[in-house]
Symmetry: C2
Subunit: 226 residues, 2 copies
């Protein structure tokens, strides 16, 4: 081992990274944020935002920091997804990746090209480029988790702005479930759950009847329902 490698241990240690699958809904489609790698391995390929864990931060802090550094995005819903550990998943050295999935509303954000000149962009899940490492697998798992939680949590609301119409909410469900839902049944179901409150305001867009707007009753938490 060369001299300037100054962090030494009795036993071998793996590197630990976080990778974040950040979803949003844009153009009536579920999209995921990817960055283009500036360095090898997989140079110039697209990959999930993420990076190595610092010794003084938790994994969740690491995930948030990397997202902020690489994309300028902050203040979003974040949940631990799974920890990947296949020995050869990174060609450089042994790397354990703790993955998170994150949700954000589509309106507020433009992924800024990060400080270190990496490109960041949204990709539709149906049109992903070839991805570095095992990131394609991670995205599939994240999508699966997201869909599985739709019907017993308020997770979907994290994909909408603070106030929204029931039609917008239904559109989110339809995109995630890949199926049309009945408007009356959908609204009835939301009433039963008691997670929405009318704002008293209306959304007045387009040449049609204005829609009541709603907000989540407990906006800070993703509630598990029942």
């Amino acid at each position: 081992m060369s001299q300037h490698q100054s962090y030494c241990y009795h036993y071998p240690h793996p590197a630990v990274t976080t990778d974040v699958v950040l979803f949003t809904i844009r153009d009536e489609d579920l999209q995921v944020l990817l960055i283009q790698r500036a360095n090898p391995p997989f140079r110039e390929m697209w990959a999930l935002p993420g990076g190595f864990l610092n010794m003084d931060e938790s994994l969740e802090q690491c995930a948030k920091r990397e997202l902020l550094e690489e994309t300028g995005i902050e203040g979003l819903y974040l949940e631990q997804l799974y920890t990947f550990s296949t020995p050869d998943r990174d060609p450089r050295e042994r790397v354990i990746s703790v993955t998170y999935f994150a949700l954000t509303q589509s309106d507020t954000l433009q992924p800024k090209a990060a400080s270190d000149a990496q490109e960041a962009a949204w990709f539709s899940l149906t049109q992903l480029p070839e991805l570095a490492f095992d990131h394609a697998k991670i995205i599939q798992l994240a999508k699966q988790r997201l869909v599985a939680k739709l019907n017993y949590s308020t997770i979907a609301f994290q994909l909408l702005p603070e106030t929204f119409t029931l039609s917008q909410l239904q559109a989110v469900y339809e995109i995630l479930l890949s199926e049309k839902l009945d408007k009356r049944n959908f609204r009835k179901g939301m009433q039963t759950r008691q997670v929405l409150r009318e704002t008293g305001e209306f959304s007045r867009t387009g040449n049609h009847r204005p829609a009541k707007t709603y907000r989540v009753i407990n906006p800070t938490r993703v509630e598990i329902i029942k």
Copy 2:
């Protein structure tokens, strides 16, 4: 750094361990397997079985290996639970713990005192000793996950031997849910799910009518129902 610390890196690396919450049902109670620590820190305190990741194994292999080494138990249901990363959770160095929860039937196993003379024993969840590290928190999370999966998976069957009676199965559910269930509704529910097959054999224990025995239709997999 001293000379015999021979694994060196450009950047600091955390240690990575797995810890396993192995549940079983004994004495009509949900119990967890603990080992008594032979070395500092927390020497002689009880802790979850687990240990450091080898560089050539996946986390799941590590969890299985540690369980086998420390308790002689193998061939059980294992599922990744959560990855813990609070910077000071281990006083020795930065340690990331990837936790698993495992289930086994109560009959087949006696936790053998491990090779390196650690004591292993079952503890009821209601009477846990003081635990090393953040292991109490890990056990609580594992229990929560287990209970949450009861009603949409066949996970509970992993706590029973290959063939079992409906009364035994109901007892498992009642212990995990901490509530009495109605016998007829329970059996009706199991029929609806279509996950059980009669063996044709009967269980003849005690001075009462023998009970039909059943086995799971797909015993190798925990099915997600619906």
